[in-house]
Symmetry: C2
Subunit: 321 residues, 2 copies
Amino acid sequence: MAVYTEISDEELDTLLDQYALGQALSCKGIAEGVENSNYLLHTEAGYFILTLYEKRVRAADLPFFLGLMEHLAAGGFMSPKPIAAKDGNTLKEVAGRPAAIIEFLDGRSVRRATPLHCALLGQTLAQLHTVGSNFQLKRANTLSLSSWRPLYESCLTDNHSGLDAQIFSGIDEEIKYLESHWPTNLPSGVIHADLFPDNIFFLNDQVSGVIDYYFACNDFFAYDLAICLNAWCFETDDSFNITKARKLLNGYREVRAFSQKELEFLPLLCRGAAIRFMLTRLYDWLNQIEGALVKPKDPLEYFKKLQFHQAVTTVAAYGLD
Amino acid sequence: MAVYTEISDEELDTLLDQYALGQALSCKGIAEGVENSNYLLHTEAGYFILTLYEKRVRAADLPFFLGLMEHLAAGGFMSPKPIAAKDGNTLKEVAGRPAAIIEFLDGRSVRRATPLHCALLGQTLAQLHTVGSNFQLKRANTLSLSSWRPLYESCLTDNHSGLDAQIFSGIDEEIKYLESHWPTNLPSGVIHADLFPDNIFFLNDQVSGVIDYYFACNDFFAYDLAICLNAWCFETDDSFNITKARKLLNGYREVRAFSQKELEFLPLLCRGAAIRFMLTRLYDWLNQIEGALVKPKDPLEYFKKLQFHQAVTTVAAYGLD
């Protein structure tokens, strides 16, 4: 939830001059997205999301993100479509920031996901992997295995910011384990890599939109599933809901079959996904941005998820036979 | 800019069941309004603002605020209209908060007001005073003269939170002066009492909406002008822009004539308006709400405005002959 960069009237008018969307009738900052500034923009042509990319998003990655959204939307996947300006480009600049105007999709994200939502999520994730598989651009996952140790080391401070020293040594041990056991050859392609409940809209018990592709990259498909198992299948009391996990995995394989190797590595991938989100949360916790309208998320939540997966030996723990 | 209270899907559905607006298609928290939580709500019937009233707004005042908006809209003034539920009421409850669904008005607030905007503001303020004059409900101004000393005293802390002790004694002196010189018998009626640039929308160089009536009350019309002179006619370097002031006052009297007494008291009312906003800002500065996504505004800005008006002897300083 954030609006970081404000846009003046003049800047907005200059931006819209480059599009065939008529004039801006209203433009309101919305509490959506953590990495970027988002506005709900009403023009004579309709309602849109105007996104300004903040520092944390690398400008060089924007053609990948916007191109992917175009590719997915063209392939019938429920991604919002970036709007092309009169010159054909989807990437512009406003208020000194790279910016894009993106289709507004109806739908609402769910606070408390049900097993039905998890089944729909699984199908949707597999559709994303399928439709995304012939996207031409590539982007490495900058938040995968090789980034974890440097990220961890950048979080080592004298006082640990109130966190238990035992947690730090637990992370250290886990990264060592993951470094020596991480798979190298699983089915791969474009993954969303951040498909949290905030980023999927439902309407009438159907998925109406998948948003926020700003972590999308090329990586193992099953790692995307691991991220979703962590984000969707734990209850607020940190217990794991095996019914939701089963629905998620079965929904997925209705659309795309798993290989045996993917299933074998799933517990390990879940551990990696837990470390990845714990480390970025820890980093944000220790490096709170002055003036950001965002409360950092609790890194400990992901430490508990990690501990759950450390005890898992087979996918039976996730509800699969 | 704030979203304080979050609404679950179920709560939103239960709310909308009470209206004839169809189902909710999307609902996004918007960065608008400091006192309340605001959502941009899209239903099958169109776009609306859903406002949840937070603690700072007294529930007993809501019939006045919502009734005033209805009265103004019915009288042709550009207030958004509160939407009546099926039972005829505009005030409902969601997520444990009083709530209202209000018409969505297009338009954009200006960052840097021009003299033209000030002229339009003046006309609009006079229209509000005229259309509001036959509104039946009454509400005392709880942030006028009698509140300033208690508010000032509640701000007296040991360390002054980094503010100069001289400022505190300056406020003390000023309140004494205002208490002995405040007028008792100027033309009165419903005033907006918070008509800052955020609260007025323009479209094609016309006013398209006036929002945020949650400080509206019965008080001197000229006090509303004083609030606007402070909010619109100082530049960011604290200098007073007499051209904007003249445009504002002349715009106003095109619609409603001033009495001689109103003009005489205007410098004093400007001093009072400066004290009022300085004190609430000071209070907010000293009592920052945990978790609020709002940065408190600088109280010193209003101390400088106060000093300007203290040196004013006649309305010639505001550009009037």
